[in-house]
Subunit: 413 residues, 2 copies
């Protein structure tokens, strides 16, 4: 109903590109497939598949391999040449910038953590990112694109993060101006939780899930990545497409209020979700309660991890506080379910490390406060990707673009 | 970025359909255009436009007319034959069902209000809707489709509204089972605020705005329709596409909490926005404050309208209450801006009748609580469509479908 998506496509060239993208995405998702399997799964004629795959083999992005799964053991399999193309992912946080190199399967080939950033050293860090990325591209000719993940709210057309304190030092930086033309490879920039949603879409499903997923299901993906870290962020894929908003600042769940008379927030609102379950908020609660010895001197992440460790050891006060945070996380789940109705909510970043105790408290709130038909149909899990793989989200931005617009990266004429 | 929309299109037939849809939508939006203007606006070759429009003229959906605007006064204009095709819109509310007939321009040709519905008479009303619609189709061969608007949360695949009290009597009705195959014309069903968003997209722009809108801008539409009536609902178009969610129950803003310890709601949540600015909530506040004489015996709409009239006459207590409601409406604007970042929020239904006093109070809250970059870029207006035109939203569902999938309604082979 009211699906205006098709109105963008208007030429035979677009159709060819679309079918190339569908074949690459299918192989990315399913591994080795025969031409006949691809044709069947995507509703293409065998002749079309033969023609398109021939061109993609020539371009080196897919290759013939052993037999695929299924009955016909003599069929020739095709697979994505995932190691033939690399991408760079750059993850910006307030005080930490990481640069990773990945192949198309998300395998990490390199990871570099830049020196800690303070508000004063931001310009220097920008220079270091430029040099680091340029050096990587120079040494690795397989690198075809750069993805960058920045904290939200990120004003996509303007190129900078909006005026919220967690990124004070960064908000003078125009990411588009600084980076978009800086390298021989194209640069794509996204808000970090959107990058996380893309990473979950590409790499987050367990193999069992991936097997039953069809090409149609990929278009029907309704997934939310709920980032609980230094900030609280959200990325939503609705029926295969990111929810962006006019300026690119949609899905800013961290600044939705759970209590309009609650704790004041730098964004101007009161009772913002972020004030109850981000790492700085948890750190403040840990300090107030005096639960973790010496917590005042710790970083936010350290204080949170110390709390979670105490809770896992059975400390009653720590468990109580983790449950309290879990309830706040649950109020966020209620917002996400009502606003976006995803079939799957993946919780990621540091706060997700608290584990089942937090997740169960959050789920209780959701089950109590969301209508039965919706909460029963919504899966909530902690991310299966490791926390320090957050930089993979930045890589996923570039990989997604590569799979969607192959002709921008390959010579397919 | 990460725009997977094109992956659905795979054949030449799809391309043709897409281009037909784009041409019809362009003419719907812009009125009379020459073939050259269409080609330029949509990036099509003149030959393609000539071929496609010839077929559409044969099918009777467009026709040649006088000269279009612009310099070339001798060019032949094309226009949509908006009066050659009619649609039916059926709007379901708890106690009121209206049936309207519209042409493609949204001109209302007939309106019928069925007898008031109670929980007991729902089955009878279903029968009456069937008879009324069937009768209209029998008498008017131009009718090509039926749109139905139902209160949310509407479970799109299941065909019924979810378990929330405002539709108690209706929740046993499966709309898909009752209506989808009931008529010679196809039936399309949507949640009512989504229908409102479609109506705003098709008919809500002022003529001045419509003139500068280009085909690209149509794809870039980011609009929210914020329905403030017996329930509080929301329909969001993000970059030209409705936000639906996995089950079709996304954008259920009425059940997002503005205070997790607030007024209990039948959905299981507490402090739901709906409990502060829907007509039943306002009615209860009016009764409690004793502002309107005899309000307890009034309908919700009557009590609200009496309050608004008193406020407009300058009654201080009435003005205070309207401002209080306006603040709650504003908390909703804050949620909408953070969650969906539309460029335009249109407030509709009965509560919008309160006028500038309410709108200004709501806007104050939004300006205070949403980051400057976003609130400054967000237009908030009351709907320019009359309240009793809500049934037009139901018609808009059918018109949208007609413009998007013309081959389903016309013989174009």
């Amino acid at each position: 109903m009211a699906d205006r998506t098709t109105s963008r496509v208007a030429s035979q060239a677009d159709v060819s590109e679309t079918n190339r993208s569908r074949i690459l995405t299918h192989l990315h998702r399913h591994g080795v497939c025969s031409r006949a399997q691809i044709a069947k799964a995507l509703g293409l004629t065998p002749a079309a598949v033969t023609k398109i795959t021939a061109r993609l083999i020539e371009a080196g992005v897919i290759r013939e391999t052993g037999a695929p799964g299924g009955r016909n053991r003599r069929a020739i399999g095709l697979e994505l040449a995932a190691d033939a193309f690399h991408v760079i992912g750059v993850k910006f946080a307030r005080s930490l910038v990481q640069v990773g190199v990945f192949d198309l399967n998300g395998t990490r080939l390199a990871l570099e953590t830049l020196p800690p950033v303070t508000d004063e050293t931001v310009p220097r860090t920008v220079g270091e990112v430029r040099r680091t990325v340029a050096g990587l591209i120079e040494r690795d000719p397989r690198i075809v694109a750069v993805g960058m993940a920045v904290p939200g709210p990120y004003l996509r057309e303007v190129g900078r993060t909006a005026l919220v304190s967690t990124m004070q030092g960064w908000r003078t930086v125009n990411f588009l101006d600084e980076f978009s033309g800086a390298f021989p490879a194209p640069v794509f920039i996204e808000q970090d939780a959107r990058a996380g949603a893309l990473a979950q879409t590409l790499f987050g499903a367990s193999p069992a899930v991936a097997t039953v997923t069809t090409a149609t299901a990929a278009d029907d993906t309704c997934l939310a990545y709920y980032l609980l870290g230094e900030g609280v962020g959200l990325g939503v894929v609705d029926h295969g497409r990111l929810v962006n908003g006019a300026q690119g600042t949609a899905t800013e769940v961290g600044h939705i209020s759970i209590d309009v008379n609650g704790r004041p927030c730098d964004c101007g609102n009161r009772g913002c979700l972020e004030r109850y379950c981000s790492t700085p908020a948890i750190h403040a609660m840990v300090d107030d309660a005096g639960i973790v010895e010496g917590s005042a001197a710790m970083s936010h992440a350290q204080a949170c991890r110390a709390l979670f460790a105490l809770a896992q050891e059975g400390d009653a006060r720590a468990r109580g506080l983790v449950r309290e945070v879990g309830h706040a996380v649950g109020y966020g789940l209620v917002i996400i379910a009502n606003a976006f109705n995803p079939s799957r909510i993946v919780i990621g970043d540091i706060v997700a490390e608290a584990g089942p105790l937090l997740l169960e408290a959050a789920r209780e709130v959701m089950d109590e406060r969301v209508i039965a038909e919706v909460t029963q149909a919504t899966e909530v899990t902690a991310s299966a990707l490791p926390t320090d793989a957050a930089v993979l989200g930045a890589g996923a931005i570039a990989i997604t673009r590569f799979l969607e617009r192959p002709s921008a990266f390959l010579d397919l004429t």
